[in-house]
Amino acid sequence: MGQEIFIMMEQKEGVMEEPSFSLLSEGKGLRERLGSSHLLSAIVMGDGIRNLERELGSWGADRVYYFESPLLKRYQSDFYLNLLSGLVGEKSPDFFLFGATSLGNDLAPRLAARLRVGLITHCVDLYVDQNRVEVIKTISDQFLHQKLVFRHSGLRIVTFSLHALMRGDQDFQKRAEVIKISPKIEPGQERVRFVNWLKADPKTIGLEEADIIVCGGRGVGKKTFEMVHQLADVINGSVGGTRPVIDWGILPYERQIGQTGVEVSPTLLMALGISGANEFTVGIEGSKMVIAINMDRKARIFKFADLGIIGDIHQVIPLVMDQIKKVKKES
């Protein structure tokens, strides 16, 4: 039997989710760099999940260890930990990759402590230098990089920073070998119990963590700022503002984006009525996509926008909202 690279999968309500796929790609890359014949073994925990051999196989998994039990539907640290440490003891993998998600951040340290092996968190890259694996991780708020090596042999656990993960290519022909395990779990033995999901409210979530942000500026106007809230509701976004808007007192200070506020990095940022002074744009440079709406075609904000709409937001936004509502209804 060959050596294995364990990769922790994540699912929600029976559906596989990121970072599972990116982690598999990362595992593939690691194997290539090692120039070895490691097996990529995906670890799945859940209940009633189907099609694993195809889905995970296409992303590169050679083998899937699937623990199936109704008690494993949601992350439960004691159960997960016991099962994983048992499996690791049995298979002795060389690597175990996690995503730095809330699951990975909780589980990986527990596993490392239980097994007394090394763990490197928030890694962004793995290098192989003459059979020695070097791990690059960010420190100091991602301003600096640090290079680390494991001093021991045997299992090495790594959690990956989510922003560093990238999906590779899929191979739709490939199938994984699924090993289904029905573990014996005694309910009532767990020290921590799942009670309830609390969905993050885009209205109260911190802007640094928000995925979609609708940001209003001086151009929106004090009296018509409600429009920004409405648009945010429609696209499930969080509301932010520029400094003048915070000065008006219609948004609290923690909603201020820019030099004297927070720096955000959402997937989508909509900049409404914002001219784009330097003091604001330093706060949005980490955004993945920026859509700007402004009347002034020379506004500096368009330099930072992936999509720029020249027009009066008071006319554009209602149209945009209608369209979104229509699309939503149709689907």
Partner: protein
């Protein structure tokens, strides 16, 4: 004059006064000795001359009169008048022991003159006291608090004047003929008393008032040390020991490597001179009245801050508690823009701003406690060595398409153009740095830049209190400048200018540093640069604090603007020495301004009210703040904010 018993009582009174006075004085001096050492015992001649001009020449009281604050004029009259009375009190005491020791020992003529002047002085002092009382209790200007203490002093001085006249009047009545023939008030009063039929009892009246007068004088001289009138003595010394360093140039921390002297957390961490400042404070409130933070409704009120520190120094004995936040709150000390308006107007040379930075140094370097917004600035400076966190590779981006060489490529330059972080990275300010460069090059000057070798001058780090970071940047910059043998530097930003010119020498960097307004003005004067066309319109100049108040450059920018034909230069009500800060200095550029009104809004409103077409300035921070301030106005009237160089560039092409 007095019988033996009276002489003994007088002697006892004098000894008692001396005892209480010296006991208090000793206490106050002991408190000063708790402060850290600071050498202010050099250049005695220079210092003495300064005191003579300031105190006896009246400069300290009159310097605000030229700015429309006439109270100083009254104060000077009071000072001269009361000084004359101080001399009279010596004679007063002396004649109690020995009759012939009256002013007449200096000759009869002197006697006449002395009492004539004394009578006039008394009337003047009374007039001034009445004026002061009316101001304090009826008109009530913002800067003055109608305190009990101020009232007591007014009453005491007033009664001293009254007692002088009463004593004099009864003496003339008693002696039959005026001992000083020109003491007109005394003579008039003696006639009045005679009319009232008091001639018979004039002797007992005279002696009663004579004693009462002395007792009030003695009491007053002790009370002075217990009240804000301590300034009568302390301001003299405070002016003598004033700083001879350039204004706003902070001294280096000598034991930074040993992590000692990192700012001020307890009162004894101040130098003795900064404690003496507290004694010298007259509580006149001019600092608060001119402070942009106070005016815009922030909790910082410099006068109160000094007053609270003084109270803290005088009342807390051993086991002193930390000043922050009990005596001075964090909101107060972070509100300071280091604009030096307080220092400018202070009649007794109190060093307010350095004190704010002392507090910040303690918070930043010992406690790592600073506004969270500043964190990214520090990190940018630490990692990228610029305020924007872009790094050296982008520092020369603004030069793309411009014929400019760096010192790394060539060293045949007349001057080094120090662009600064704002001029290198901030889009709006990049436009200005281009224009300045093109203007200088247009005059045929061989100019080079440091390019990727330039780093932040360190000003923001230093004003916020991060001396470690500042020192790191200074040493690196000085190393680079020396490496290329740079002699002459022209800067865009007044903050770079001040730091390079006045602070780098204290770290071993000696360069000739010129602000671009001065340099370009010189190019215009000697004809290397020519204005080719007129520009019609009205412009108002906003003085950057670090150019004007801190470095005294008021005329060069104005001369440039005046030299443009058809351009009309206007002034804001607050200009030159009294210029109002834009709100960005002292690291405030990177801090959230939540309390009160925004300072830049106030200043922009003032600029708009001049109805000028353009607001010109010559500082990247001021430009950003004024542009934002103008945009934030709710009025329709708009005004364009430009850098001075941008206006000039339109007419030299």
């Amino acid at each position: 004059m007095l019988p033996l018993g009276g002489k003994i009582i007088l002697l006892i009174l004098i000894l008692m006064t001396l005892f209480f006075f010296s006991r208090r004085a000793y206490f106050l001096i002991r408190l000063l000795q708790q402060g850290k050492p600071e050498n202010r015992f050099n250049h005695w001649g220079k210092r003495l001359k300064y005191v003579l001009v300031q105190v006896f020449g009246g400069r300290c009281t009159l310097k605000n009169v030229t700015r429309g604050d006439y109270a100083g004029f009254g104060h000077l009259l009071l000072f001269y008048g009361f000084s004359l009375f101080l001399i009279s009190y010596l004679f007063h005491i002396a004649e109690g022991f020995y009759e012939k020791l009256s002013p007449s020992i200096l000759g009869h003529g002197f006697n006449h003159l002395f009492f004539l002047f004394l009578d006039i002085a008394g009337l003047v002092v009374i007039a001034v006291i009445l004026w002061a009382a009316v101001r304090r209790y009826l008109i009530r200007p913002n800067r003055l608090d109608p305190t009990l203490e101020a009232g007591i002093i007014l009453v005491v001085v007033f009664s001293l004047m009254l007692l002088h006249y009463l004593t004099e009047g009864f003496r003339i009545l008693m002696e039959g003929r005026p001992f000083a023939e020109w003491s007109f008030v005394g003579i008039a009063l003696s006639h009045l008393f005679e009319e009232l039929g008091l001639k018979g009892s004039s002797r007992s009246f005279f002696f009663s008032f004579w004693w009462l007068h002395l007792i009030v004088v003695f009491g007053f001289s002790i009370y002075v040390l217990y009240s804000k009138h301590l300034h009568i003595l302390a301001s003299f010394f405070n002016l003598f020991f004033h700083s001879l360093e350039h204004r706003g140039a902070l001294p280096p921390i000598s034991e930074l490597d040993k992590a000692k002297g990192l700012g001020v957390s307890k009162i004894e961490d101040f130098s003795w001179k900064k404690l003496l400042d507290l004694y010298a404070c007259t509580e006149c409130g001019r600092c608060t009245a001119n402070c942009p933070a106070s005016i815009s409704g922030k909790p910082l009120r410099p006068r109160d801050l000094i007053y609270h520190l003084k109270a803290h120094l005088l009342t807390s004995k051993d086991g002193r508690f930390p000043i922050i936040p009990q005596v001075v709150t964090e909101d107060e000390l972070w509100a300071c823009t280091t604009c030096h308006a307080c220092v400018e107007v202070c009649p007794v040379d109190i060093e307010h701003v350095e004190r704010m930075i002392d507090f910040r140094r303690h918070l930043v370097m010992s406690q790592a406690d600073f506004p969270s917004e500043v964190k990214s600035l520090f990190r940018n400076l630490e990692i990228f060595r610029d305020t924007h966190g872009k790094g050296p590779s982008l520092r020369t981006e603004w030069t793309i398409g411009l014929p400019i060489k760096t010192f790394r490529e060539s060293q045949q330059f007349e001057i080094l153009y120090w662009v600064g972080c704002e001029g290198s990275f901030h889009d709006r300010n990049k436009e200005v740095s281009k224009v300045i460069l093109k203007t200088i090059q247009g005059a045929g000057v061989k100019v080079g830049i440091l390019g990727k070798d330039e780093m932040c001058c360190g000003d923001p780090a230093r004003r916020i209190g991060n001396e470690y970071l500042f020192r790191e940047l200074v040493h690196r910059n000085i190393g680079i400048l020396n490496h290329y043998g740079v002699k002459k530097i022209v800067t865009y930003c007044p903050h770079c200018y001040h730091t390079l010119k006045n602070e780098y020498p204290l770290f071993g960097g000696q360069f000739e540093v010129i602000h671009y307004t001065v340099y370009i003005n010189e190019l215009l004067r000697n004809g290397r640069l020519k204005i080719r066309r007129p520009l019609e319109g009205q412009v108002v100049f906003h003085d950057p604090c670090y150019l004007g108040r801190i470095n005294g450059i008021y005329e060069a920018p104005r001369e440039i603007l005046k030299s443009i034909p058809a351009l009309n230069l206007k002034e804001m009500p607050l200009s030159k020495e009294r210029s109002f800060c834009c709100g960005a200095g002292g690291g405030r550029m990177w801090m959230h301004e939540s309390q009160g009104e925004r300072i830049n809004q106030i200043r922009s409103r003032e600029a708009i009210e001049t109805k000028a077409d353009w607001v010109a300035t010559s500082c990247p921070y001021c430009l950003t703040m004024m542009e934002d301030g103008v945009r934030g106005q709710e009025t329709k009237e708009q005004v364009n904010v430009l850098d001075l160089s941008e206006i000039l560039y339109r007419v030299i092409l």
